[in-house]
Amino acid sequence: MTRKKTKYVPVPSKSILPERDASRAPVLECINLGITLGGIKAVDNFNLTVGRTEIVGLIGPNGAGKTTVFNLLTKVYQPTTGTILLDGKDTHGMSTIQVNRAGIARTFQNIRLFKNLSVADNVKAAMNNEMHYNMLSAILRLPNYKREEIAAHRRTLKLLSIFDMQGVADVPAGSLPYGAQRRLEIVRALATNPSVLLLDEPAAGMNPSETAELMDSIRKVHEMFQIAIILIEHDMSLVMNICDGICVLNFGQVIAKGTPDEIQSNPAVIEAYLGRRKEEPKS
């Protein structure tokens, strides 16, 4: 498989987000992370370091614990062992909400949009924490309400324009086609100003041309925002093409880590995916 290695240089002028430190220092570190669910070690001894602008693929057979890792990172589950450092700060004891404010945003394997809200409102809901007007300003439509709402609307349209979705801004999110719903989830996650974006099977249920489009979108997002992206995906062409590094999980354990080329030729990975070759008779 040929892989064009793109060198990502920080381009602050293109960035919609406030300027970030674009150094290669790790933004996220998982140290000895583990969780026991129902007596089973769903994830065990998980170590991963993600650079500030890296794209990392998290792959593995079904039930390997990939989504559990995301749930640990976003504190849906509190880890039984280990530490998660975000920007060098321990996230121990943080809630899902606090960890999002600290800079981790995610999408979901089974799309979770606010179906009855318009596309624009889905994105604006994610900007809630950067708006400051209170209930009284909203009820009385005071100037700061109008000012902040207009600013949020501008930013929403800008974010939606990444995926050419400004045109459907006032359509209910639930009525969007499948691919667009997946893209909207990414936009909504981006609206919270993350430094780490977690994408849980973004290409699930997409045909090859849609997947190719998605790949371009992820690249675009990465270039514009200069953020770290962790990606769970079964589509190997997507993973191998887009990721700087890959981490392979099986039965909750990391069985391999490396560049896409290294992973493709790793015997442990091949075994996890295809099974063990029959013992050859000794000659």
């Binding site: 899902t96 909400i97 994610a126 609307h153 609206a191």
Partner: protein
């Protein structure tokens, strides 16, 4: 350009809101004209204020059920807190504030504050629960409020306000007045509630709810309703926003309770029981969850209907139930819905 676009995007929602205001204002004018020209029977005139109060209750409960997506089965409890605190404060203010509309307005504000406090206190345990559990616990709290008010005594004499529970131990001095008398409730209320006051309260309630829905708080409420897990993942504080909606809804219900109570000379806590909570829920469900205008119309129809069915004497409640079932079926019918939507004069004209 962006501003214009913002207005465009909001147009669909705005149309629905304008229609609601327009219908309410038109209904008010028609009722005022009919009542001043003597076209209304005295029983109909007497129902105008309770209808307004129920409409406000429908708007208030719609905020919790339709917008926040949580079922509250104890909303009459907040109404009764508002009714008792509002009427009691109106009686206490009788000497100092002689202007009746002003006293009514102040009493409604006080009622809203007391109901909001009750909403906050009840919200602390209730909002930790989800779905069915939350609904059942609100039911229990509605009954608790009723029991407390049934055993609450409040009197006023030259030494100030005296309060006691279970039995009347206020021992008022001579010339004092026992205002809240436990299960006997409050009697000797000055009927200062007017239809115009009800109309103004309904307009204020609508303005609060509509403006709140179209703000960051409203988006948060609806986001939590649509997907709680996703709402958490984008950093929305679920408990805070649930509490906000719950307290706001309780405050509006409290003001409605004060309006309702000041239309009668006597008010007792048993008036605001489980049946009343369910009646208000029926308004909301029949009108469509999240649909303010629907809830308002349902409140009017279902308050007038039992009166109009009086001529059927003992078959009255049977007929009421049948009509309710037919209405529920009809309003859930897609064809009826599209017909009703066609009646909206603010609707965007679509190309044929």
């Amino acid at each position: 350009m962006t501003m214009k676009r913002l207005i465009n995007l909001k147009r669909a929602e705005a149309r629905k809101i304008y229609l609601t205001y327009a219908v309410v204002i038109a209904a008010y004018i028609i009722c005022q004209v009919m009542s001043s020209t003597g076209l209304f029977s005295s029983s109909m005139r007497g129902m105008l204020v309770p209808i307004c109060a129920y409409m406000v209750m429908a708007v208030s409960l719609n905020l919790v059920v339709g917008i926040l997506g949580e079922l509250s089965l104890g909303h009459a409890g907040f109404m009764s807190v508002g009714a008792f605190s509002g009427v009691a404060s109106a009686i206490l203010m009788q000497g100092t504030i002689t202007n009746a509309p002003l006293r009514l307005a102040l009493a409604m504000v006080i009622a809203a504050i007391f109901a909001a406090i009750a909403g906050f206190l009840i919200g602390i345990p209730v909002l930790r629960l989800k779905g069915d559990y939350l609904a059942i616990v609100t039911l229990a709290f509605g009954e608790i409020i009723k029991s407390i008010l049934n055993n609450f005594y409040l009197g006023m004499d030259s030494e100030g306000i005296q309060i006691s529970m279970i039995t009347d131990t206020t021992r008022l001095l001579k010339g004092g007045r026992l205002i809240i008398r436990g299960p006997m409730g409050i009697s000797g209320i000055q009927k200062i509630a007017t239809f115009t006051a009800g109309f103004v309260l309904l307009m204020i309630a609508l303005m609060i709810v509509f403006n709140l829905v179209n703000s960051r708080s409203g988006r948060a409420f609806m986001a939590i309703r649509d997907d709680r897990i996703a709402a958490e993942s984008i950093g929305l504080d679920i408990t805070k926003y649930k509490m906000m909606a719950f307290v706001m809804s309780a405050a509006i219900a409290g003001a409605a309770g004060a309006l309702f109570a000041m239309n009668y000379s006597t008010i007792v806590a048993n008036k605001f029981d489980f049946n009343t909570s369910i009646l208000i829920l029926v308004f909301v469900v029949l009108g469509g969850q999240g649909n303010m205008l629907g809830g308002i119309i349902a409140a009017a129809v279902l308050t007038i209907l039992p009166e109009k069915l009086r001529e059927f004497s003992e078959y009255r409640m049977l007929l009421y139930a049948v009509v309710l079932i037919v209405m529920m079926l009809a309003t859930n019918n897609a064809e009826v819905k599209s017909f009703l939507a066609g009646l909206n004069p603010f609707r965007r004209k679509e190309a044929a």
